[in-house]
Point group: C2
C-alpha cells in the first residue's frame, strides 16, 4: 500500500483508476484510446465532463466551460491574450513560481504588468494582503494556491476589475463562488484528472473582446467555446478520466464533503508539525495551503533517518520541490485521511526515537 | 471482433492497449496516472519515447525531438512562429482542410502567405505537381497526407527553402528522410499514440531564429527542446502509450516492415474499388493515400444495404468525413490486413447481390 503525497500529477480515487483501465480495454466494444472524438459515445463523455464541472462548482448561467491542452503554462498566455483590453495594463499578485510565470507571459504578449503585491521578500512564504489596486487595469490575476511554497489564498483579492485566477492546484478542493471571476483556468493534474487537459471556466461576456493583434485560433477562448472543446482533437483519455473523477466527486457528496475532508487532513498534519519540536512549517500560518503542506526538519542531520522511516511506511512523493528542499505533503482530494495519519504516526515515532 | 477503420483517434496494437491498461492500475506500484512527471520512472519513459522516434525514423544528428500538446492545430501556429524569418513570407501548398488551416494560422501571426499551388479547383482530389517556388521564402509548408480527401504526397516538394511538414496522418507509416525537412510536426493520434500529444522533429540549426515579435514560452521550440519536453507537465499517459507503441513498431521490423504491410493493405482495397463496377475512388490514382482510402457508391440508393452489410461484419468508422460524405477506409499501422480483407469481402458480397 502506497500513500501518494506527490504534488502532481497526483493520486486519484482507486475506483477511477479501475474504470479508466477497464475503458482502455473496452469502451463500448473499442478501446477508449481508439474511439473517434466525433463518435457520439465520446461526444457524450465530453458533454458530461463539461456539465459535471458546472454541477460540482455551481457554475452560474452566463459562464461556459472548455477543456483545452497545454497546461497552465499555455494558460498564462491564453488568459492574458483573451482578457487584454484597451488599457493593455493588468495587475498581477506574485506569490511565487507560477504567478511569476504568468507575469512573464503577460509581458511577452505586450501587457504592461503592474505587480500589485509580491511575497518575494520572504521567499514567497505568505500571501500579500495590504495593497491597493489602481483603476484602469484590464484585469487582475492571481494564483490561488502555490504548490511549491505551500501557500493558498483563503480570501480572493478585492477589486472592481475583472478577476482571473489560475486555480490549477486547488480547484474542486473547496467551495468557490464562480461569479467572483471572469476567467478561471486550471491544469487538470491535481484534483480533476490526469495530465493532458486544461480546464477553462469563462464568463461569456468577456469572449471575443480581446485587443490583442495576435490571436491564433487555438488560443481564442471564443472559438474554443463555440466549438464546445472540439476545435480539434481533444485529449480524449484525459477528459474521459476527468469525467469519471467528477462523477466520483459528486457521488461522494460534492465539493462541500470533500472540503470538509481536506480541512480535516490539513488540520491533522499541521497540528502535528506545530506541536512537534523537531519540525517547523515554512509558511505564515494564516496562509497555509490545505493542499500542499511544506515543512522542514529543525535539525537537517536527521534527514536520512526520517526519510528511511517514511519510505518504509509506504509514503511516496514527500520531498519538497527541487527549488525549496525540505518536505511537502500534498493532500489532494483523493488522498485518504488514513494516509495523513500514517505520515503523522511516522513523524511521532521518529520524534520519540530522536527527540 | 471490431474492424476499426476510423480516421483518428484510431486503432493501436492490441498488446499496447493491454500494457496501457495494466499501467493504469500498476506502474511500479502506482497508477501511471498518478506518477509525477519528474519521477525518474517517468523521465525514463519520456527519454525512451524521444529516443524511439529517432530510432524508428533514423533521425540524423543535429535534429531534436519534442512532445508538446495542442495537436496540429496549435502546430500550425508553432511551426509558422518558429520558422518566421526576415522576409516574413512563406509558401504553402493547399491540399485541403488541414493545409487551409495552416495557411490561416500563418496569416494570423503576420506571415505573407504565398499559396504556391492548390487542388481546390477539383475539391482537393489530387496533389498539385507543376508549380514554381520563388526565392525569398522563409519556408515552404505542406501537409503530407490529407485524411479527409484521401490524398498523399508520394514525393516531397522540391525547394531550396526550409521545408516544413505537417505529417500528422502518415508519420511512422513509411520511410522518410528526415534530413529533407527543417521541421516536422504531427498530432499523435494516428500512428503514434492516443490523442493528447503532438510530436515535433526539428533541425537544431533553426531554433531561436524567429523574427516574430510574439513568442510565448510554450510555443517556443527552442525552450521546449532545451527543457526536453518538460517545460511544464507533459501529457504523461499519451507519451507513455506512444512509447509502448513505438516499442511495438520497432520490435515488429520497424518502418520498413510496416510500410510493406501498409502498401499491401492499400493495394488490396484499391484493387477491389478499381475493379468493382459499383464503387469509384474519389482521388487521382497516383495521389491516393495509403492511409485513408476514399470512395463512393456509383448508385447512392444502395447506401442503406451496403451500410448494413459492413456494420454486420464488425466494420466501424467507415463513413466519410462530414464535409465529403461517401466512405473512407483508414488503414493505419495497427489495422491488420485481415480487417481490410473483411471489408473487401463485404464489398464483393454486396456486389454479387446488387451488381
Amino acid at each position: 500500500m502506497k500513500h501518494n503525497f506527490g504534488a502532481g500529477p497526483c493520486i486519484l480515487p482507486q475506483n477511477v483508476f479501475k474504470e479508466a483501465a477497464s475503458a482502455v480495454m473496452d469502451f463500448n466494444g473499442l478501446s477508449i484510446l481508439e474511439v473517434s472524438h466525433r463518435h457520439k459515445d465520446f461526444v457524450a463523455v465530453m458533454d458530461e465532463a463539461m456539465d459535471l464541472v458546472k454541477k460540482a462548482l455551481n457554475v452560474p448561467a452566463g459562464y461556459s466551460v472548455a477543456y483545452l491542452q497545454g497546461g497552465a503554462t499555455l494558460g498564462f498566455t491564453i488568459a492574458a491574450l483573451n482578457m487584454m483590453r484597451d488599457n493593455k495594463k493588468a495587475g498581477y499578485i506574485n506569490t511565487g513560481t507560477w504567478a511569476t510565470g504568468a507575469i512573464k507571459e503577460a509581458k511577452k504578449i505586450g501587457i504592461d504588468v503592474n505587480v500589485l503585491a509580491s511575497s518575494e521578500d520572504k521567499n514567497f512564504s505568505y500571501i500579500p494582503k495590504d495593497y491597493s489596486i489602481p483603476d484602469e487595469l484590464d484585469f487582475v490575476h492571481f494564483t490561488s494556491n502555490n504548490t511549491i511554497y505551500g501557500t493558498q489564498f483563503h480570501a480572493i483579492p478585492k477589486t472592481n476589475s475583472p478577476l482571473i485566477c489560475d486555480m490549477s492546484s486547488d480547484i474542486f478542493s473547496k467551495e468557490i463562488n464562480v461569479a467572483d471571476f471572469d476567467l478561471i483556468y486550471a491544469g487538470a493534474q491535481k484534483n480533476l484528472g490526469p495530465a493532458g487537459a486544461t480546464l477553462y471556466i469563462v464568463k461569456d461576456d468577456v469572449l471575443g473582446k480581446s485587443t490583442s493583434p495576435f490571436m491564433p485560433t487555438y488560443l481564442d477562448l471564443k472559438q474554443q467555446i463555440e466549438k464546445e472543446s472540439m476545435l480539434n482533437t481533444p485529449p480524449v483519455f484525459s477528459i474521459y478520466v476527468a469525467m469519471l473523477n467528477l462523477r466520483d466527486l459528486i457521488a461522494n457528496g460534492g465539493i462541500a464533503a470533500i472540503e470538509a475532508k481536506n480541512n480535516a487532513k490539513a488540520a491533522l498534519l499541521y497540528q502535528e508539525i506545530d506541536s512537534n519540536p523537531l519540525f517547523k512549517g515554512t509558511v505564515a500560518k494564516e496562509d497555509r495551503s490545505r493542499m500542499n503542506a511544506t515543512f522542514l526538519l529543525e535539525d537537517e542531520s536527521h534527514q536520512e533517518i526520517f526519510d528511511k522511516m517514511w519510505k518504509e511506511a509506504g509514503v511516496v512523493g514527500l520531498p519538497g520541490h527541487r527549488s525549496t528542499g525540505g518536505y511537502r505533503a500534498s493532500m489532494y482530494n483523493a488522498l485518504p485521511l488514513e494516509s495523513v495519519q500514517v505520515l503523522v504516526d511516522v513523524i511521532k515515532e521518529f520524534t520519540k526515537k530522536n527527540g
